[in-house]
């Protein structure tokens, strides 16, 4: 019973959503949109579960003085401060998202720069990963190195200045072998997704159920 009820719900939901894709008439037509609204409501409430989990796990870490417990204090303080400035913005300006609200100040001057900092790290990681990937250890890696060099040279002005070969070759690499491989992977992934969805709808795939 504990397993069969979720399996029946899964089967009926999956089946009717597939039907709704092909039948625009009522009552199927707006089924997907309606279920998406339900999903948004459920996910809104589960956010409370997430916050609860976050507070509990960091409070536990502080209480046990685990490694890095100081970071947990900063995190909980950040959580409290963000909530407080949000409430202040709401009470004073009618919305925490008002351009002059303290919440937006925190967002613009703390969160956005931190996000930018993390994203900027990508440049260094690309350099280190490329260095490893482009070492010509075998034939495949050598081919990768050569194509990468052609694509890089073809996409910068100096490549065209050296020879017209580089822009033309990089265009061919991107439009023919690269696109063919990409589409092959996409077709395989789409079929895999259909297959997995079918296994879930038919109740064959149950590992997501407890």
């Amino acid at each position: 019973m504990k397993r069969s009820v979720p399996l029946i719900i899964t089967f009926l939901t999956g089946f009717f959503l597939v039907v709704a894709f092909f039948v625009p008439h009522e009552p199927f037509g707006e089924l997907e949109q309606r279920l998406l609204v339900w999903f948004a409501i459920v996910s809104g409430f589960t956010m409370l579960l997430g916050i609860d989990n976050l507070i509990r796990s960091h409070a536990r870490r502080i209480a046990r003085t685990n490694t890095g417990w100081g970071h947990s204090i900063v995190l909980l303080m950040g959580l409290v401060v963000t909530v407080v400035v949000g409430v202040i913005g709401f009470s004073r300006l009618g919305s925490p998202f008002h351009i002059h609200s303290p919440f937006m100040f925190v967002y613009t001057h703390v969160i956005v720069p931190l996000q930018g900092t993390m994203f900027a790290l990508l440049a260094f990681f690309i350099a280190s990963a490329s260095y490893r990937a482009f070492r010509a250890r075998n034939t495949v890696a050598t081919l990768l190195l050569i194509s990468a060099l052609i694509v890089m040279l073809g996409r910068i002005p100096i490549g065209a200045a050296i020879s017209d070969f580089f822009p033309a070759a990089q265009e061919w690499i991107m439009d023919v072998p690269q696109l063919a491989a990409k589409r092959g992977i996409q077709i395989g992934a789409a079929l895999g997704a259909v297959s997995m969805s079918l296994r879930i709808i038919l109740g064959i795939e149950r590992s997501y159920l407890s």
């Binding site: 894709f21 092909f22 039948v23 625009p24 008439h25 009522e26 037509g29 707006e30 459920v42 996910s43 589960t46 956010m47 409370l48 579960l49 997430g50 916050i51 989990n53 976050l54 509990r56 796990s57 536990r60 490694t67 890095g68 970071h71 969160i111 931190l114 996000q115 993390m118 994203f119 790290l121 990508l122 990681f125 690309i126 280190s128 990963a129 490329s130 490893r132 990937a133 990409k182 992977i185 996409q186 077709i187 395989g188 992934a189 079929l191 895999g192 997704a193 259909v194 297959s195 997995m196 969805s197 079918l198 296994r199 879930i200 064959i204 795939e205 590992s207 997501y208 159920l209 407890s210």
Partner: protein, 402 residues
């Protein structure tokens, strides 16, 4: 004095606005060189649930015509006065009325506005918004779905009947046991990152199904497991999956609910959190499976720097090169969806893989056939007028639903 000037200015501006307004709203006389919307047609929007009528028109202008500023669409039912229902820019020649009543017959007038005034079109023919029981434009999808499902179900039935099914080796999945074993030997935890999306993303679902298998191995070996999540629904689902895995191998008492935890919904906040966990906890095995975006390489490279064995997988073709470059093993595209079947070794699950392989072969044959036919058609007539070229083009358009 200043006050009087201000009042006079306001009165002057008011009069100007009134005069200007009356000029703009003035109907133009028939037969002038004014541009006009002609051949207005109104038709039911096909393949919809009703309530929508598509209105389109042509614009008739001459060299002497003033430029059109906008079109206004008026609608009326029999015995009613025309009512404005919307406006479009002068560059548009169509409009969709999405608020039509199902049982009412409507006619439409397109009002062409210029700087000098406006002119109304001849009313369109009567149109009725109806709902359809089948979206004809999706017929190719239905046929494809029937073929895919039919093939998968056929092989599942064959597998149930005891047929031997060969599945090729997937090194990334064979390495799961080794990775968990190595972490156990080193006495370090296993870090499982299920991506940054919620459960409605099919890649996340695939990651959660693999988590069950990894959690069983971890529970058998008594290795610590860490599962940081970016979505509360994923967190609760993952907690249940891990708990179930521990129970299935008889290690329920070893399950630590705090091993599956929520970090943040923010993409780079989550990345920073996971990177921090990697640096502090030093996991020996890192699984990066699910949906990833720009953070994929940041996570993979950090895992490489701490010396962990990395098994990654995603269906996102934009992130796959990063994983291939940085990780020890990568599940490419479909392999992440095949993982659960592959790891379970259950015949019914493997049957579904054979079914999708058969369809893949069919797609390859179809592509090769169309390419050969198209090339022959081009050789016969390079301008694309040969019967073969037209047939290939028609087939391609039908397959793409155009």
């Amino acid at each position: 004095m200043g006050h009087r000037r201000l009042v006079a200015t306001l009165v002057f501006l008011g009069v100007l606005a009134l005069v200007g307004g009356s000029v703009a709203a003035r109907p133009l006389e028939e037969g002038t060189s004014a541009p006009c919307a002609c051949s207005v047609s109104a038709n039911d929007v096909p393949d919809d649930g009703g309530g929508a009528i598509s209105v389109s028109w042509d614009l008739a202008t001459t060299d002497a015509s003033p430029s059109v500023t906008r079109f206004e669409i008026l609608r009326y039912a029999t015995g009613e006065e025309p009512v404005s229902i919307g406006e479009v820019l002068s560059t548009n020649t169509d409009f969709q009325d999405v608020n039509a009543d199902g049982g009412t017959i409507y006619q439409y007038i397109v009002r062409t506005h210029t700087r000098d005034g406006f002119i109304d079109s001849v009313p369109s023919d009567a149109a009725l918004a109806t709902a359809q029981w089948f979206a004809h434009g999706r017929a190719p999808s239905l046929i494809a779905l029937i073929l895919v499902c039919g093939s998968i179900i056929f092989f599942i039935i064959r597998a149930k009947g005891g047929a031997e099914l060969f599945i090729r080796k997937i090194p990334g999945l064979d390495a799961v046991d080794d990775a968990v074993g190595r972490a156990t030997e080193m006495g370090r935890p296993v870090l499982y990152v299920p991506g940054i999306e919620t459960v409605s993303e099919v890649g996340t679902l695939a990651a959660l199904t693999i988590l069950g298998h990894v959690a069983k191995k971890v529970a058998q070996h008594g290795t610590p497991l860490l599962v940081p999540t970016a979505d509360p629904i994923v967190m609760t689902t993952a907690q249940e999956i891990v708990k179930q895995a521990y129970a299935e191998v008889g290690q329920s008492d070893r399950f630590d609910p705090s091993s599956v935890f929520y970090l943040t919904y923010d993409q780079f906040g989550y990345t920073a959190g996971v990177d921090g966990i990697m640096v502090r906890e030093r996991p020996e095995a890192v699984f990066l499976l699910g949906y990833f975006a720009a953070e994929s390489l940041i996570l993979a490279e950090t895992a490489h720097e701490i010396g962990a064995i990395q098994i990654s997988g995603t269906k996102e073709t934009s992130q796959l090169p990063f994983f291939v470059a940085a990780c020890d093993y990568t599940l490419i595209g479909e392999e992440i969806f095949a993982a659960s079947s592959y790891l379970s070794h259950e015949p019914i699950m493997l049957g579904s893989l054979k079914g999708q392989d058969l369809i893949k072969i069919g797609i390859v044959y179809l592509i090769v056939t169309l390419v050969i036919a198209g090339s022959i058609g081009y050789a016969i007539s390079p301008d694309g007028t040969s019967t073969l070229s037209r047939a290939v083009e028609a087939a391609a358009l039908w397959l793409t639903g155009s």
